[in-house]
Each structure stands twice: as structure tokens, then as C-alpha cells.
């Protein structure tokens, strides 16, 4: 039996395209449609979806549905739930694929309840076997991988970024095409407008240290704030060393729990490090092609946050730390203060002699 598949997305903050992860999910939706001999509908939510719709017009969907208007500009639970519900009902989809953006992670489980369906998040791959869909996701914070199937329909699946090949419009060499959009009118009740999104706030840091698109993740552990060989702490030296490294490499900064927790325990801290930087079991699981750990022991609760870092290197004074036990490709037994200082000098020298900017990856946290 053929399946109705809905690819659901919201417009990006820029308003003229979709978030990058959406095109990965569209690629997965198209592949699934082919495997299941199904029909694909695209559903879009935003203040104005016309420009974003044009970027996916060439995907070959049967329909493009949209809920649009000023009420749907920002990620608010009540309005996004109403919009997504309207699109899902109109599409009559069995399977609904969406990117695991913060906006959709907030709302789509609730939409599944309204549709009497089910939802699964953080899905890393999909497979159709004998007409049956199977999804892979992690449990216990990237420590156990499960393959699941569901009886209930519709089944909403939120896919992680970077796990599927992104759809590229090959018919028009990537350029946008004309989209025929069916706009679904949604009127919000007064109760759905009790919350107003007033803006976006960046962390108080002097520099933006979290860069989801960076090629490299640089993780600082608690060792940066501990006593060094001379019996003293050198936080004043650690801060510029780390910030210089981030500046010359364009890397994204992560921290271990023990380091980010220090700010709440009145210990010497790195001023730019917040809980938002925390990587690991109780932090984030960022996606970068490479990761460099410094002054961090590589204990399991931290390293589970490295599950999607492909190439891993670590600098630590302890040759028996967790990184040495099969968790890193290379462990340098050395003083991170010395190594990063030399590294900064070397990279700064190279950037002066090379016109090319630091390479940027394509994956999102």
C-alpha cells in the first residue's frame, strides 16, 4: 500500500529559505517516497513562505501546503502547534518527516498527540524494509542505539542534521523555481496568543563561542583552571590562549561539566564559558568533523557528547586518561598551555601567509 509522506519545515530566521537541516530531511523524504512508492507533500510554516517554497519547488512533491502570516513568524508553541496540526490534517500523511530544530523539537510531540499519532525525536537514520519503516535513534544519551518501528499513524519523525544527504535541486542547478502553494487558513484563538516572542538573545560572552557550522570542536576541561606545575592556577593565561585559538581556527567551544559547573561553585572560571558550552551526557552532542580536547579526562559521561565527532584528538598530562582507552584517535601527553600557545603562534603565522580563511563544516549542533 502506498504511503502519504509529509515533509514539514519552517522558514529560517532569515525568512527566505529553510534551515539547512531541512534539506537533509527533504533528501530523506524523497528517498523514502521512492522506497515506499508513496506520495510526497511539502508543508511549510512561517510569516512568508513564498521564497522558502521556491527553494523546494523542484523537489517533485505532489502538493506544497503552507500556513503563513505574522502569527507564525516565530517559534511559539501554541501557534506552531496549530499550524503543524492544520498542515498534517490537510496532507493526510502516514509519515511526517521534520528537522530536529529547536522550533520543531518544542512542538511536534504535542502535535502528534493532537493527531492521535506518535512522535520520535533525534532520529539518525531511516530504513524501509518490506514496506515497513524502521527508525534508528539513541537512548541513554548516545550510549545505546535502538532500531524501532511504530504501529500508530501518523508517525512524526524528527531527524538529526547531517545524517542524510541534503537534497539539491539538480534540475535547475540549485536555483529556485516557481512554487504552487496551497495556503491553509489558521485562525488562532485568544488563548493561543498569551505568549509573545520578543526576540533572540546571545550569550553575554565577549565573543560568540558556539559555532554549529565550524569544522572543529575545541573542548576545554577543568584542567585549565587547576593548579599547574608551579603550584598556582593560571586562568588569566588560559582565557586568552583559548580565545586566540578560537579566533585563528574558527572553532566552536565546548566545555566539560566539571568546568562549566565551577561558575556556580564560586571557583576560578573562564569568563566566556557557560552551560550552553557544555558537551556530554547532561550537555549537548554537537556535530563537527573534528574535535580537539584539552585538559579534559575523557570520562564516559563527557565523551558520550562526542558521539558525532568523527576525528578526535586530545591533549592531556595523564597518559591513562579516558581518551587513551579507545575514545580518541590520538592522545598527546603534554601540557595544554604550552601546546596551545605554540599552536596559536603557528596558526597565526600560517594565516598571515595564506589568503584562505579557515574551512567551515556543514553540520549543525
Amino acid at each position: 500500500m502506498s504511503k502519504n509522506i509529509l515533509f514539514l519545515a519552517h522558514v529560517s530566521e532569515a525568512g527566505n529559505t529553510l534551515p539547512k537541516a531541512s534539506y537533509d530531511v527533504l533528501g530523506a523524504a524523497l528517498e523514502l517516497r521512492n522506497h515506499l512508492d508513496g506520495h510526497l507533500t511539502i508543508g511549510l510554516i512561517g510569516a512568508d513562505v513564498s521564497a522558502a517554497a521556491e527553494t523546494v519547488a523542484g523537489a517533485g512533491a505532489d502538493r506544497i501546503l503552507a500556513v503563513a502570516g505574522p502569527d507564525f513568524a516565530s517559534g511559539r508553541y501554541a501557534s506552531d502547534a496549530a499550524a503543524a496540526e492544520a498542515i498534517c490534517r490537510s496532507a493526510g500523511a502516514d509519515l511526517i518527516l521534520a528537522p530536529a530544530t529547536s522550533r520543531f523539537m518544542r512542538v511536534l510531540a504535542g502535535v502528534a498527540h493532537r493527531l492521535n499519532g506518535c512522535a520520535d525525536t533525534h532520529v539518525t537514520s531511516l530504513e524501509a524494509v518490506n514496506g515497513e519503516l524502521r527508525a534508528t535513534r539513541w537512548h541513554y544519551r548516545q550510549r545505546i542505539e535502538g532500531v524501532i518501528r511504530r504501529d500508530a499513524r501518523p508517525w512524526i519523525l524528527l531527524l538529526e542534521s547531517g545524517c542524510e544527504a541534503a537534497w539539491v535541486n539538480t534540475k535547475t542547478n540549485g536555483s529556485a523555481g516557481a512554487a504552487k502553494i496551497e495556503v491553509i487558513p489558521v485562525t488562532l484563538p485568544k488563548a493561543a496568543t498569551r505568549t509573545v516572542v520578543t526576540g533572540i538573545r546571545s550569550p553575554k560572552s565577549d565573543v560568540q563561542t558556539i559555532r554549529p557550522d565550524a569544522n572543529l570542536l575545541f573542548v576545554a576541561g577543568a584542567g585549565w583552571t587547576k593548579k599547574q606545575a608551579d603550584g598556582k592556577t593560571h586562568v588569566d593565561q588560559a582565557e586568552p590562549l583559548i580565545l586566540d585559538f578560537l579566533r585563528v581556527t574558527g572553532a566552536s567551544l565546548g566545555g566539560s561539566k566539571s568546568l562549566v559547573d565551577q561558575s556556580g561553585e564560586s571557583q576560578a572560571v573562564l569568563g566566556f564559558m557557560t552551560h550552553l558550552n557544555q558537551v556530554g551526557q547532561t550537555g549537548s552532542t554537537p556535530r563537527h568533523p573534528k574535535g580537539l580536547s584539552t585538559c579534559c579526562h575523557g570520562e564516559e559521561p563527557h565523551v558520550v557528547g562526542w558521539r558525532f565527532i568523527n576525528e578526535r584528538r586530545a591533549v592531556n598530562l595523564d597518559p591513562n586518561c579516558g581518551w587513551a582507552r579507545g575514545k580518541a584517535d590520538v592522545l598527546y601527553v603534554a601540557d595544554a598551555f604550552e601546546v596551545v600557545a605554540k599552536l596559536n603562534a603557528l596558526l597565526a603565522q600560517r594565516s598571515r601567509t595564506s589568503p584562505e580563511p579557515a574551512a567551515q563544516g556543514a553540520l549543525v549542533n
Binding site: V197, P203, T282, A334
Partner: protein, 271 residues
């Protein structure tokens, strides 16, 4: 807000993060090897939610606020974890003796939580704030709280919350985590509302034996009364559950100077 808040925190137990987790197959689906033997902790994000709830309740005008902790988990595990948690902040425990497995269905867990919240005597919806972790360290779905909110018909929901500030007019300013290490700022006119907490900004409260003694007067009877409820599979079927297979062959470099290491790392970064 002169009457304070009724804050219901949803939070369960998870295996201590330092434990090795090994999946096994059981007739009812996957489980953890020696699950009942593993030391447990209150789920970290739910713990943050509990600390934030206690902090908000203590600051609310009129101090008429109350905090309930609704916890679904094996009774023995809940009792073990409460010995620690009950010493930190004041709350009334509403336990449900059921599975806290990371392989349990979020929809079934949410139905159980919502039903338990609705059955709390004297709960005032006009003052109701539902707190919980935005994800758990077990299932890690980030779905349960939304499902609880839908069942309670709460339309003002926030996930990845790091800050909740009560304004002079009784409205809330809420900071939710979004991509790129930023926060979305929203203003909600007031209760009822649901908040899935990230880490927040509060340190872990210190143990206070007096708080512990006061809590345990209600915690132990509540645990004894806790109903045992089987959790439905919700139509969720596991085809496999396995730990990651990848084990790297680590090259441990002990005999290179800082300069040589920097050179090697610089080349690796540039590739």
C-alpha cells in the same frame, strides 16, 4: 500573583552517569543488564527543574506556593534517590511505581504523568506551573513534557528553558535555548504554563538535614502508598538495542615536544 504558584515537577530516576550500561533483551523488550542493581540519581535536567521550582516557590509573593514532585519509577529506586534529593529542597512527593526505563514509550509515560497530576488534590489550574527536564538522560526524547502539556490542555509551553523571571505584572519572561548558543526570549502572561528546563542558572542546593526530615515525613508514606502501574508499550517495537561498536585505536604520543605536537595538530586541522 498574590496566592503563589502550584508547581508540579515531573522527574524520574536514571542510572548514575558513571555506570556502564549494557542492553539485554527481555520478553517485554530491551532493558539494562542488572538494571535494579545500578545506582540511580534523579534525572539531571529534572533535578534542575526541581531546584528552580523550589527557588521560584520561595520567592513568590505570599509564600503560598507549593511544589510537588511527580515521579514515575520503581519504588525501591525512588526511595534510594529520595534519601538524597529530599535533603535539598522542600516538596511533596507523588510517586508512581512503574518503569523508568529509557526504552519505555514517551506517550505512555506522559499519559501516566498527566493522569497523576490531574489527581493531585487541591491543585489550582489558575496557579499551575508544570516543570520538568527538557529531555531525560534515559529516553532523551524531549517529547514527554509536551505530551503531558497537551493532555493538561496547556498551550503555553517552553523547552530548553534556562531562565524564568516573574515580571511586576505577574507575567513571565522566559529564555529558551535555540541553535548557536542563543536564547529565544518570550513573555507569557501567566499560569498555567509548562516549562521543560535545561540547566538553568542555579547551583545544586546543599544538603539540609532539617529539610530532609520535614520531607521524609511525607515521602515515606507516599512511597508506601504508591500504586504499581504497568506501562503500556504504546505500539513501540524495538528491533534491536545495542551499544556503539566503534572502539578507536588510540595512538598515545608521549615523546614529542610541545612544538612538534603543535605542528602535527596544525597540519591535522588544516587537512
Amino acid at each position: 500573583m498574590t496566592n503563589g504558584y502550584h508547581i508540579v515537577v515531573c522527574g524520574s530516576v536514571v542510572p548514575d552517569p558513571l555506570q556502564t550500561l549494557e542492553p539485554i533483551q527481555t520478553p517485554t523488550g530491551p532493558a539494562l543488564k542488572n538494571e535494579m542493581m545500578l545506582p540511580a540519581v534523579l534525572d539531571p535536567w529534572a533535578a534542575h527543574a526541581l531546584y528552580e521550582a523550589a527557588n521560584l516557590a520561595s520567592k513568590a509573593a505570599g509564600s503560598n506556593s507549593k511544589v510537588w514532585l511527580v515521579s514515575v519509577g520503581p519504588k525501591a529506586k525512588l526511595q534510594q534517590v529520595m534519601m538524597t534529593i529530599a535533603q535539598r529542597v522542600s516538596f511533596e512527593l507523588v510517586p508512581v511505581d512503574s518503569s523508568a526505563s529509557g526504552f519505555a514509550d514517551a506517550h505512555s509515560t506522559a499519559a501516566l504523568l498527566a493522569g497523576t497530576i490531574q489527581a493531585i488534590p487541591g491543585l489550582d489550574r489558575a496557579r499551575l506551573l508544570v516543570f520538568g527536564g527538557w529531555e531525560s538522560a534515559s529516553r532523551g526524547a524531549g517529547a514527554t513534557m509536551q505530551l503531558v502539556g497537551e493532555r493538561l490542555e496547556i498551550l503555553d509551553q517552553f523547552q530548553g528553558v534556562d531562565q524564568l523571571s516573574v515580571q511586576a505584572d505577574g507575567s513571565f519572561e522566559v529564555l529558551e535555548r535555540i541553535e548557536g548558543g542563543r536564547h529565544q526570549v518570550s513573555v507569557c502572561s501567566g499560569p498555567p504554563a509548562l516549562f521543560g528546563w535545561a540547566t538553568g542558572n542555579l547551583p545544586e542546593p546543599r544538603n539540609n538535614p532539617q529539610v530532609g526530615m520535614a520531607n521524609m515525613r511525607t515521602v515515606m508514606p507516599a512511597l508506601q502508598r504508591a500504586k504499581s502501574v504497568p506501562l503500556a508499550d504504546g505500539g513501540l517495537h524495538f528491533l534491536s538495542a545495542s551499544p556503539p561498536k566503534q572502539q578507536r585505536q588510540t595512538r598515545v604520543v608521549k615523546d614529542m615536544s610541545a612544538e612538534q605536537i603543535a605542528q602535527e595538530i596544525a597540519e591535522w586541522i588544516g587537512k
